[in-house]
Amino acid sequence: MADLTQASARELARLIATGEVSAVEVTQAHLDRISAVDAKVHAFLHVDADGALGAARAVDEKRSRGADLGPLAGVPLALKDVLTQKDVPTTCGSRILEGWRPPYDSTVVRKLREADVVILGKTNMDEFAMGSSTENSAFGVTRNPWDLERIPGGSSGGSSAAVSSFQAPLAIGTDTGGSIRQPAAVTGIVGVKPTYGGVSRYGLVAFSSSLDQAGPFARNILDAALLHATIAGHDPLDSTSIDAPVPDVVTAARAGDVTGVRVGVVRELNGEGYDAGVRQRFSEAVALLTSLGAEVGEVSCPHFDYAMPAYYLIAPSEASSNLARFDAMRYGLRVGDDGTRSAEEVMAMTRAAGFGPEVKRRIMIGTYALSSGYYDAYYGSAQKVRTLISQDFAAAFEKFDVLVSPSTPTTAFRIGERTDDPLKMYLADLDTIPSNLAGNASMSLPVGLSPDDGLPVGLQIMAPALADDRLYRVAAVLEAALALQWGHALIEEAPAL
C-alpha cells in the first residue's frame, strides 16, 4: 500500500489482520501525516503518540498470538476533546479545563479500546461544543482542508478536519444541534448522529444532556457503520441509554437498497436562505434516488420552523446547569485564589476568565430562561415545541421511511465571516436541529461540490429512533451511484495539503 493514510478503515483493518502491514506502521503513518499537515489544519489539540503506538503494538502482539481481531482492530481514530480518556488531557476547547486529566474513560473510549481501535489524540472543537465553526475554541481555529480560509464546521470541526485531511480514517464527534452532520457536510465526509440513547453519554462532558449524542465520522458509509456499531449499545452507567438491540447498521451499509423505499423531502428545510449550489446538488441527489427506485415525495413538518428558537432555549438552559460545576473548587483553572478572596469570589473570577464569550452568552440565556417567572414562557414553551416537532416527525414517518434535506443551508463559510453575528452563525444548524429535538437518527453524506464555490455539499437523511440502519441502507446506494457518476469518491478531489 502506497499511502496508508489514504486507505479506508475497513481496508486498514484487513491489511492489519492479514499481516500485510502492522498496526504500528498504520499508526506511525498517521502520526507522520499529522506532523506533516496539522500545522496548517489544526485539527488536534493533543496528539497522544505514545499512547497510540502502545495501543498499536498491543494489536500487533494480539495478532501474533493468533487472537481474533475485531473489524476495526488497529485502525487509528481521532477523538473529539469532549470525551474523557483516562489520564489524557480533556479540555472541551475551554481554558477552564486546561490541565485536567480525567481519572476515568468514557464508555465510548472503553468500547474503542475493547475493539482495539487506536486513539491518536484529541481534536479541536467549539468551546463546550457551542458553535458551528470551531472558531469558539479557546485554543485557536481549525481550518477546512478544502479551503484553509474556511471553517471546518462545528462544533466537531477538529474531527471533521482530521478525517477529511487524511490524518485519521475515523473520528468521533458529538452532535447536540448538528455538530457532527454540519461539519461532515462542509468537509465532504460522512457524519452520523445516532438515535438519542444509542451511544452512551457516560464520559461525554455535557453541553445539553437531552440533546447530546456521540457518533462517527468517516470517509465512506461502511466505515461509518463499522464505527457506529463499535460505540453503540446499552450502558448501565447512562440512564438515558436505550436498552434495546443495536440496529444492524453494518449489514445495512453492505446491502444498500432503495427499491421501494419511501423518501420524504421536507418542505420546510429548503428554499429561502439556501445557497443555489446547495439546492442544486440536493435536487440532483434526490432525482438520483428516484432513478434508483426510491419513491420520493414531499412532506411538510410545519413546526420545524420553530425548532431553532426552541433549541436555543433548551440547550442553553441545560448548559447553564451543566456548566455550573466548573467553579475552580475541584479541578481545572483557578483564578484569584490569593488568600484574601472568598470561595464565591474565586468561582466568579475563574468563570469570568475561563469561559469564552459564546459560552457566557448561552449560560446567561439559559439562566434567564429557567428563572422563576420566565420558566413557563421560555423553557416550558420550548418543551411544547419539542413535542410538536416529534409529532411532525411521527406523522411524516407514517408516510415515509426516511426524510431528506440539505445538511446545512450553505457550504463552508469563511473564517471570521459570522463571528460577529451569532444569529447568522446559528443558521448553520437549521436543518440538523429537528433531529436532536426529536431524538431520532440522522446522517450527512457528501453529494457533490457546489457549482458556486466548489465546496462540498451534504445531504441529510433522517430516520425514526432506533431505525439507524435505514440511514445506511439508503446512503450506501447513493454513495455507490455518485461514485459511479464521478468515477471516484468525492473526498479524492480534496486539495493536497
Binding site: 480533556t90 480525567p102 455535557a206 445539553s208 440512564s239 438515558t240 467553579d327
Partner: protein
C-alpha cells in the same frame, strides 16, 4: 409555664410545620456505587459521579426509590404513578455539580398523614410530600474560632456524604394544637423516627445527622383568618431541641408582634446551648433555584402492582403496634407513653414473649430496671440484662422460688454480669428456703427466744406472729418463704388462724 409563653398563647394561635431530612441506610449512594459508611476518612467514598466530574452521569439507586415509596406508604401517602427528578441550581462548594438532584413539583409521594399521641389524645399530622434527593458534602471551616465560615482562613470539603440518598418529609401546617404545639412537634418527630426505624430504611441517628429537622412556625392572632409570616429554623437536631425551638419561636414571634413589630420571613438558626434561635439569611429575597426536570435521569414510573406488594409487605407500624400492645397488656395510653419515652416497649414485649405476664414485664422494666438505668444514666434497653432474664426472674418469683427482695438481688447479679438468673441464684445461694425441716428448727428457735410473742399468739392475738416471722426471716438471711414461715408459726402455736 413562663409568663411570656402564656401571654403568647392567650393572643396567638401557633401553626407549625416540620421538614425532616432522613439519610437512607442504603449500602450505596443515590446515583453511584460508592459506599455510605458513616465516619470513613474524608474523601475516601467518592467516584467521578458523586464528585460531579465532567462527563459523569447519575444512575438512580433502585433501593432508595423503594425505601422512599415504603416511607410514603407508611405515612398513608399517594404514590406518584410517574414523576421526575429535578435539578435545584445554586453554587456552593460542598455541592460537586453546583446543582442538587432533587424533586420539585413531582414528588414521589404526596398527601398522607401520621397519627401522633400526646397524652390521651391523638393528633393527625398531615404530610404534604415525601421526596428523594441527594445529600451534599460537608464543609469544614478552618481558622475561625467557631467553626463557622466567618473568620475562617480556609475551608475543607469532605464529599463522602455527597450523594447519600436523602428523603425529605414535609408536613402540612399544623394548626390548633395551642399550648401543646411544642409537645406535638416533638411527638411527631418521635413517631416519625420510630416509623422509619420500623421500616428499617435509616438508622435515624439525630446525633450523626442521619435525621435532621427544620421547624417552620408562624403565629396567627386568635380569631384571625389570615396566617402569619413564618420563620424557618434550621439545625434542630434532637427531639428536645424540636420542642424547645417551637417554644422559643412562639415566645419570640409573640414578643415581636406584641411590640407592634412584624415577623420577617427568614431562616433562623437554633442554638442547642441557649435554646433560642437567631436570625440567618432573609428569605424575602427568595433564592431562585431554577428548577427543571433532570435530563440525565429517566422518569420514575413505579408499577401499581409493585407498589401494592410493597404496601402488603409493610411491617406493623409503631402506632398500630402500640395500640395492639396496650390492649394486650391492659395498660393506659399514659403508661404506654411512659414506656415509649423510656424506650422500653420492645423489651417489655420480648419479656412477655419469653414467658412473663404483661403486668410483671411492665413492672420490672418500668420499675426496678428503669430506676437502675436512671442511676447509671443510660437507656433502659442498654442495660446488660435480656428480656428472657427478666422473664425467668419473674417466673421464679411466681413459683415462690424467689421473694421480691431476692429477685432484686438476682437482678443485681445479672446486671453485674455474673451470669443468668439461675447462675446468680446458685452462685449467691439466693433460693427461698421452703424446706419445712430447716424452717421448723428456725421457727422453734424463734418461739423459744420470744415467749411473750408466742403467748400472745396462743391467746389469739395473731398479729403478734409478725415478730416471730420477722425473727425467722432474719435468721435465714431473708431466704425463707415468709408465707410458709407464718403457717409454721401458727401451726406450732396451735391456732386456727
Amino acid at each position: 409555664m413562663s409568663t411570656t409563653y402564656d401571654e403568647a398563647l392567650a393572643n396567638y394561635e401557633p401553626v407549625f410545620g416540620l421538614e425532616t431530612h432522613v439519610e437512607l441506610g442504603t449500602v450505596s449512594k443515590m446515583f453511584c456505587g460508592c459506599g455510605t459508611t458513616f465516619g470513613a476518612p474524608p474523601n475516601t467514598q467518592v467516584c467521578p459521579v458523586c464528585l460531579g466530574l465532567p462527563g459523569s452521569l447519575p444512575v438512580a439507586n433502585a433501593m432508595a426509590i423503594e425505601s422512599t415509596i415504603r416511607i410514603g406508604l407508611a405515612l398513608h401517602c399517594t404514590i406518584a404513578r410517574w414523576c421526575r427528578f429535578a435539578r435545584k441550581n445554586y453554587f456552593y462548594p460542598d455541592m460537586p455539580k453546583n446543582f442538587q438532584i432533587s424533586q420539585y413539583d413531582e414528588p414521589l409521594c404526596v398527601e398522607g398523614y401520621l397519627d401522633v399521641e400526646v397524652g390521651d389524645s391523638v393528633v393527625r399530622v398531615g404530610i404534604e410530600r415525601v421526596h428523594l434527593e441527594e445529600d451534599t458534602g460537608k464543609s469544614l471551616h478552618v481558622g475561625g474560632s467557631t467553626g463557622r465560615i466567618h473568620g475562617a482562613t480556609h475551608s475543607l470539603v469532605d464529599y463522602n456524604r455527597a450523594g447519600i440518598p436523602l428523603v425529605e418529609i414535609v408536613t402540612k401546617p399544623v394548626p390548633g394544637t395551642g399550648a401543646l404545639a411544642p409537645e406535638v412537634a416533638r411527638a411527631y418527630v418521635t413517631e416519625l423516627r420510630e416509623t422509619l426505624r420500623a421500616l428499617g430504611v435509616s438508622d435515624v441517628r439525630m446525633e450523626e445527622g442521619s435525621l435532621r429537622c427544620d421547624v417552620n412556625l408562624s403565629l396567627n392572632r386568635v380569631g384571625a383568618t389570615e396566617w402569619g409570616t413564618r420563620s424557618e429554623t434550621k439545625n434542630v437536631n434532637s427531639l428536645r431541641s424540636v420542642e424547645r425551638a417551637v417554644r422559643s419561636e412562639i415566645e419570640r414571634q409573640s414578643e415581636v408582634l406584641s411590640a407592634g413589630g412584624r415577623v420577617v420571613q427568614e431562616t433562623r438558626h437554633f442554638h442547642e446551648d441557649t435554646g433560642v434561635t437567631t436570625s440567618g439569611r432573609s428569605k424575602e429575597m427568595a433564592e431562585d433555584y431554577r428548577y427543571f426536570p433532570e435530563p440525565d435521569l429517566v422518569p420514575i414510573a413505579p408499577a401499581a402492582d409493585w407498589v401494592e406488594s410493597l404496601r402488603d409487605a409493610l411491617p406493623e407500624l409503631p402506632f398500630e403496634r402500640r395500640r395492639r400492645l396496650r390492649e394486650e397488656w391492659g395498660i393506659s395510653a399514659l403508661d404506654m407513653q411512659a414506656a415509649l419515652n423510656a424506650g422500653a416497649v420492645a423489651a417489655i414485649e420480648s419479656t412477655v414473649a419469653a414467658g412473663a405476664s404483661p403486668r410483671d414485664a411492665y413492672k420490672w422494666w418500668m420499675g426496678e430496671l428503669a430506676r437502675q438505668a436512671n442511676e447509671r444514666g443510660v437507656e433502659v434497653s442498654t442495660l446488660p440484662v435480656t428480656p428472657s432474664d427478666v422473664a425467668r426472674i419473674s417466673v421464679l418469683v411466681n413459683d415462690g422460688k424467689l421473694t421480691d427482695k431476692l429477685a432484686r438481688q438476682v437482678l443485681d447479679g445479672v446486671l453485674a454480669c455474673e451470669g443468668s438468673p439461675d447462675d446468680v441464684v446458685a452462685a449467691r445461694g439466693l433460693e427461698v428456703v421452703s424446706d419445712d425441716a430447716a424452717l421448723g428448727a428456725a421457727v422453734d428457735a424463734a418461739i423459744g427466744a420470744d415467749p411473750d410473742a408466742a403467748q400472745k399468739v396462743r391467746d389469739g392475738k395473731v398479729a403478734a406472729a409478725g415478730a416471730l416471722v420477722g425473727a425467722v426471716m432474719k435468721a435465714t438471711g431473708g431466704k425463707a418463704d415468709a408465707a410458709r414461715v407464718r403457717e409454721l408459726v401458727l401451726e406450732r402455736l396451735n391456732t386456727d388462724a
